[in-house]
């Protein structure tokens, strides 16, 4: 079933703040095999001008993927999650995510099109601190594969 294009532009309420933990950043960095000192050692991160350990560039997906369920699970859109494939991903950083950040996501359904029996959904997530400082903008293009 093609998505209703009238939903394009819809913005969802801000998510509950996500507390970025030092150990979560270390765990994520270790999982991608990244041993840079700034990801693991607060002293090294401070020497580079950050308040605490810095997250790797794709770390924001940890919160934005969870936050985008707001859109995926929106009954008005009727997306079948079992048919969703990740098509594209982009990050534009104002600054890196740092341990101690309290981050809020605001999701917008930026685009929805249908082509060749598949639906393409682009979400934009503005990630900012709870105090309103912008941190990173995250775009995800999801492909909802058609049946048959």
């Amino acid at each position: 079933m093609p998505l209703d294009p009238s939903f394009v532009g819809r913005t969802y309420p801000p998510t509950e703040p996500y507390q970025v933990g030092r150990e979560k950043i270390r765990e994520f960095a270790a999982a991608i095999g990244a041993d840079d000192a700034e990801y693991h050692d607060p002293a090294a991160a401070r020497a580079a001008g950050h308040a605490d350990v810095v997250a790797p560039p794709t770390f924001p997906i940890v919160l934005t993927m969870a936050a985008s369920r707001q859109i995926i699970d929106d009954p008005a859109l009727g997306i079948d999650y079992s048919r969703v494939v990740h098509g594209e991903q982009r990050f534009a950083y104002t600054r890196p995510v740092v341990a101690g950040d309290e981050l809020v996501c605001v999701n917008t359904l930026e685009d929805a099109t249908s082509r060749g029996g598949h639906d393409f959904v682009t979400t934009r997530t503005e990630v900012s601190t709870a105090a309103g400082e912008p941190v990173v903008t995250v775009w995800s293009k999801l492909v909802v594969r058609g049946e048959g």
Partner: protein, 127 residues
């Protein structure tokens, strides 16, 4: 831009699933992967993007030097259930980013000689 390569095994996928919270079984269950028509268990697209991100920060010389980073997932990375796993090869060309102090990287990521990402680009701040 010295090419980088990253080995990916099933254990890496399990660890990434836990760390990222992406528990989709197509990244660890042969049964589920086959059921949805995949040739086998595949790596998370975001895991491939994270490994390529390691190459980007390595070339930039600093883990916090990335200004923009985007990819299209062109082909799944199939990870066999053995000790060898598979290997992702990453290379890049420098381009003028059109702004002072910034460099654009046009990135190529392949697995078994086939491109797994398309339109993979990063903008980095050179230190």
């Amino acid at each position: 831009m010295e090419p980088q390569s990253y080995r990916v095994t099933r254990a890496d996928l399990v660890r990434y699933a836990g760390a990222s919270g992406d528990l989709n079984p197509i990244h660890w269950s042969d049964r589920v992967a086959a059921k949805v028509g995949l040739p086998g268990v595949i790596a998370h697209g975001m895991f491939t993007m994270a490994l390529v991100g390691r190459a980007v920060t390595h070339w930039a010389g600093a883990p916090d030097a990335v200004v923009e980073y985007g990819v299209r997932f062109a082909r799944p990375v199939v990870v066999p259930d053995d000790d060898e796993g598979t290997v992702i090869e990453v290379s890049a060309r420098e381009r003028d980013a059109g702004e002072e102090g910034l460099t654009r990287l046009d990135i190529t990521a392949t697995c078994h000689g086939e491109k797994v990402l398309a339109q993979a680009r990063a903008v980095i701040r050179k230190r």
